[in-house]
């Protein structure tokens, strides 16, 4: 139990997907314009990443069984792409309300390298099934936390007086760097 708790804390704070692993930066800078869109994106990522981690765990077992582990990259990306499509169709049918909330973010997730990255990390760290699910979920929560904090800062930033050359993406990157520094404070939380 203690081990699981540590894994959750580690994946959310200590090795945050954005600030220490550099995964999923494109959506991070793309959709962090307001807090509400970043919450929506975060929820969609939590949903898909947990699911994708679970499924790729079994896919890898299958690949190992047939001795074709070198096909990992190709198979994983196709599985994730079709999973996203499937989730979209199922959500539309079962829960139109949830689809309304997450719908526009789902297609963007296929090209979110955090999903594939976390799936491959799970295999590299040879986690068992429960750990895989926890790590996937925790990483996605970490992504959401980072996204929401950054969106909050950016909403304020729009009102502040920034030198002309630093406007737009330039100041966003420096801001992200400072938040990342703050996140480094968690570095020794879990050994």
């Amino acid at each position: 139990m203690e081990h699981i708790m540590l894994l959750i804390i580690a994946s959310i704070l200590v090795s945050n997907v954005i600030f220490s692993r550099f995964l999923g930066l494109c959506p991070y800078f793309g959709v962090s314009k307001s807090i509400s869109t970043s919450l929506g994106m975060g929820m969609a990522v939590i949903f898909v990443m947990t699911l994708a981690s679970g499924i790729t765990y079994f896919i890898q077992k299958l690949l190992d069984h047939f001795g074709i582990a070198f096909l990992q990259t190709i198979v994983f990306i196709l599985v994730i792409a079709s999973l996203v499509q499937l989730v979209e169709i199922v959500l539309k049918k079962i829960s139109p309300a949830l689809y309304q909330a997450l719908g526009i973010y789902l297609p963007l997730i296929t090209t979110n390298c955090a999903i594939l990255g976390v799936a491959i990390l799970n295999i590299q760290k040879s986690y068992h099934f429960v750990e895989t699910l926890i790590f996937g979920f925790g990483s996605a929560v970490g992504f959401t936390v980072a996204l929401v904090i950054f969106a909050g800062v950016r909403e304020r930033l729009r009102l502040s007086d920034i030198p002309k050359g630093m406007k737009g993406p330039a100041i966003s990157f420096v801001t992200a760097g400072i938040i990342a520094m703050a996140f480094m404070g968690f570095a020794n939380l879990v050994k």
Binding site: C26, L71, Q72, I120, P163, A170, A176
Partner: protein
Amino acid sequence: MAHAVKEFSKGIVKENPVFRLMLGLCPALATSTSATDAIGMGLSMTFVLVSSNIVISLIRNFIPDKIRIPAFIVVIASFVTIVDLVLKGFMYDLHKSLGLFIPLIVVNCIILGRAEAFASKNGLFLSILDGLGMGLGFTLALLSLGIVRELLGSGSLFKADLLGPAYPKVIIFILPPGAFITIGLIMGLLNKLENKGGK
């Protein structure tokens, strides 16, 4: 000919994938801790970009429109697997330090973006030039990040100690926060230069 030169050079400055289009940020920030890694990543990326542009521009008339994206992804993923295996076989150290970011070339928006926006609509020759230009632009962006970060963070360049033991190493620059701050400042500098040139 002027047209061809334009397709080649646009990726390097005007539409630089990292500094201008903000694509491919993950590998750009993660693998630019040293100039050597930056070049390794940049060249792997260029190889995948050029090869997938070649194949996609050759088969663009045979792919049904509806399944073109999955088809592109399979082509790209095959080349990424080739790069992964070649690096593992011949340059193990580089493979180890680039790590996760080699398989992640697959989901890099630059490659799929070029396949969709350029190679699927243009002929072989222009597609090769486009891939080369974008790849070189990416490599140069990574290299400039890598040089700044390695010089400030570890006082060396291409793993050779330049500034000597007396230099106080600013370790933050080879850690993640330094990557964000460096790219932000370089973008600011580019904006400044551009504003000056416009006047």
